[in-house]
Symmetry: C2
Subunit: 459 residues, 2 copies
């Protein structure tokens, strides 16, 4: 919807000149890292406090103005696109790190602080925040989408690392949920209800996060396999044996090929596993040794191991390139990234299914992922200007998701439902559970103003 | 409420002779391990399937019959007491382990399976389920109360270990939430909404749980301190340094004294820390060594370490006695257990506050807890026949909880709100958040039939 002048005036009374209707600003807030075509908001507001967010929502709720929270715009599922117009609530001016509690291993931040900014501050005290989705997202955005990443196997996702939240409900009510304690059993877990709710239930304004001491030593290892199935089976066994892996990533030959081209590497174009271990010098050596013994049972070859910082980064270069090499190698193309996850025992089969489906189409693709968590991404290259390709891509990705759901998997391990997987959510979890989600949505946001059209179809 | 004959007949049509109105059966379902006086249900039903639970709830919802799910009756907060009468839904005949997926590190169970039964089965395959609240509770009960325990510091609580649930809503609707995958980002986290909801939002009938491989080696360590503050500070530093502790427990001198009397031990009656480490032989030795170096900086003395199974159990005897020794040393008395938790930096202060408040009263008490998680229990001995003591105990425990909440802590780290902490929940999280919990309760259970009077005051 478009905003009337009196609505704009009422909002300006709260944020003053931190309201923009400048075309380029609107345009910047109408897109994310997903493949969905842009949709512009009518205005962008930059609140500076929870109180301002509360007053803004109070007006929007009365006036039925849709509100879409916006962080760094790095979402992969169209989360920040204002499908029904209204305002984009840019949280990046709420960017204060409020309190680092080194002794408690917690930090309190405003929602607009980004992950890298936080870690730069924390590193001075020998601490770090563990969730690493790749992009330099805001922490509010990461909580909203329930972000995860390469370190989730050891440290958990946002779900495990958000201890407490301040959030604003659709009618402007401010709630404080959770506690800065490491354990909590007091009442319904509203923290976990909001984490991953994709901005559809409340606007998160402040977060208390778990942090960790930077490990005394980190080591990395790389190993290659003759077949995908061997590599996946080896990674699965490492997890099953309780080896304390901090990261465990799989790259298919196409991902290695991309990295070789992109970074001038000469890595063998074979299914590859990368490991990282965190702990004392004795522990990381023992963990790497245990992993080596296991992967060799599955035909893993050329096991290389290092705890040298520079060497470690080099070993992991191919993984860092896995996403970005696609962008650089295919200029003008867009990348659709799937986010399927399955129980560990189904992983080799799941990747084979996707490989086989994708091989029947003309799109270049590569596959990599968080193998120790059973979560993998297919990067599918296509032409944004060709509409028949859009339909074909949608058909292919839905077909893969349906097969994975039938295997007991999920259509999204860490990216979220956003606007493209609403039907898949029903297919996966059933009408009854989705109907309950709708009831909860109606309870928290009766006017359906918060990020309409995400997670659930608009009523 | 009492049930009419026609209501009883309708329920008997579903469960046949698995409905009891026998006095001793009712009596057994009117109490738990808490200090609350018994309240009897009008009937006890023993469903054998999700479908039976669905049909029972459908009738109860139409007839406005309260329903209280019952597992092993080991709750500490009066969770299973049918405050408004109605039926007790005893889940112990739903006791099948449906599927052990060793490769996936998951298991699917019916809600009435107990923790020890499950672990006996899993151990044959070299696997274990990690959450250990002490009592041999049912897994449905543990999920409902969001149970945790000594291993939570490494493996998490029920919140982290329940992957998926089948549950029945108040109107009989069956929902499947969550997925057997290790990561999931599909829609609202209904799993975590039900875990810890204490039977007030739905009846859990089946669960998919994360399991782990039994560690190759376990080692244990014991160390004593001159002061409580030193012991707590040492434990905190061990956590901060990222030492991979599997358990880390604190015992005060009174707890040691109880254990000495109870088990004929001769342990020094000093503040004591117990550690357990899980991993490869090299890792558990390195972890114990690192812990030793740290605790010695805080004056920890007589550090003993072992990886011998028998010795390990002996070292931990005092911790196993911490609860049960009270029951045996004070026959005829009842024990009230608090469940406070604070951020790590406040733990020494919090324990001192409780120690000081309790010392002003006549009740024998001891304090122990999950120090690495900032969660500790005060065991307060009192006379169940003396009503003035009841009031005094309630005043003391509420006073302690208020002080802990003011410190940024919680009134319950792992036992739940139950019937005794409803006001404390409001004090802790605020009217706005509790009001939202009430709205969610009304949405899921509009007739307020599910475990009324727990978590939230009856409307």
């Amino acid at each position: 919807m478009d905003l009337t002048n009196s609505q704009l005036d009422a909002l300006r009374e709260i944020v003053g000149d931190r309201l923009s209707i400048n075309e380029s600003v609107l345009d910047q807030h109408g897109r994310d890292e997903s493949a969905f075509p842009p949709v512009l908001p009518s205005a962008v507001l930059y609140p500076k406090s929870t109180d301002e967010v509360s007053r803004i929502l109070s007006i929007c709720n009365s006036e039925l103005i849709p509100v879409v929270p916006f962080g760094a715009g790095t979402s992969l599922e169209g989360h920040v696109l204002p499908l029904k117009g209204g305002i984009s609530l840019d949280m990046t001016e709420m960017n204060k790190v409020l309190k680092i509690s080194a002794e408690d291993l917690t930090v309190r931040v405003e929602a607009g602080v980004t992950r890298v900014t936080l870690n730069n501050l924390l590193s001075k005290e020998g601490l770090f925040f563990s969730v690493d989705p790749g992009a330099d997202a805001t922490l509010g955005g990461m909580a909203s989408t329930g972000a995860a990443g390469t370190t989730t196997v050891k440290y958990g996702s946002m779900r495990e690392n958000v201890l407490a939240l301040t959030a604003v409900l659709a009618d402007g009510t401010v709630i404080n949920v959770g506690r800065s304690t490491r354990k909590l059993s007091a009442g319904y877990d509203l923290t976990r209800l909001l984490v991953g709710s994709e901005g559809t239930l409340a606007v998160i304004t402040e977060l208390t996060l778990r942090i960790f001491g930077i490990p005394e030593r980190m080591s990395a290892a790389i190993v290659r396999f003759n077949s995908l199935a061997d590599g996946v089976a080896a990674a699965t066994r490492v997890v099953q044996m309780g080896i304390n892996v901090a990261r465990c990533e799989f790259l298919d030959p196409a991902s290695i090929r991309n990295a070789n081209k992109h970074s001038g590497l000469t890595l063998p174009e074979q299914p590859t596993l990368l490991f990282e271990f965190h702990g004392s010098p004795a522990n990381v050596e023992s963990d790497a040794q245990s992993a080596k013994e296991i992967v060799q049972e599955f035909g893993g070859s050329d096991f290389e191991w290092t705890s040298d910082e520079g060497e470690r980064r080099k070993l992991w270069q191919a993984r860092h390139d896995a996403y970005w090499s696609n962008i650089h190698l295919y200029p003008g193309k867009r990348i659709v990234s799937t986010d399927l996850a399955v129980p560990l025992s189904k992983l080799a089969e799941a990747v084979q299914i996707c490989n086989s489906i994708l091989s029947k189409h003309k799109f270049p693709f590569s596959i990599f992922g968080h193998v120790a968590d059973g979560n993998f991404h297919c990067m599918i290259i296509n032409d944004p200007t060709n509409h028949s390709e859009h339909d074909e891509i949608r058909d292919v990705t839905h077909k893969m998701a349906s097969r994975i759901i039938a295997l007991g998997g999920t259509c999204t391990g860490e990216h979220g439902i956003g606007m493209g997987k609403i039907e898949l959510l029903i297919e996966e979890t059933g009408e009854s559970a989705v109907s309950l989600m709708r009831k909860i949505k109606r309870t928290l946001d009766p006017n359906w103003i918060l990020n309409p059209g995400k997670v659930l179809a608009i009523e």
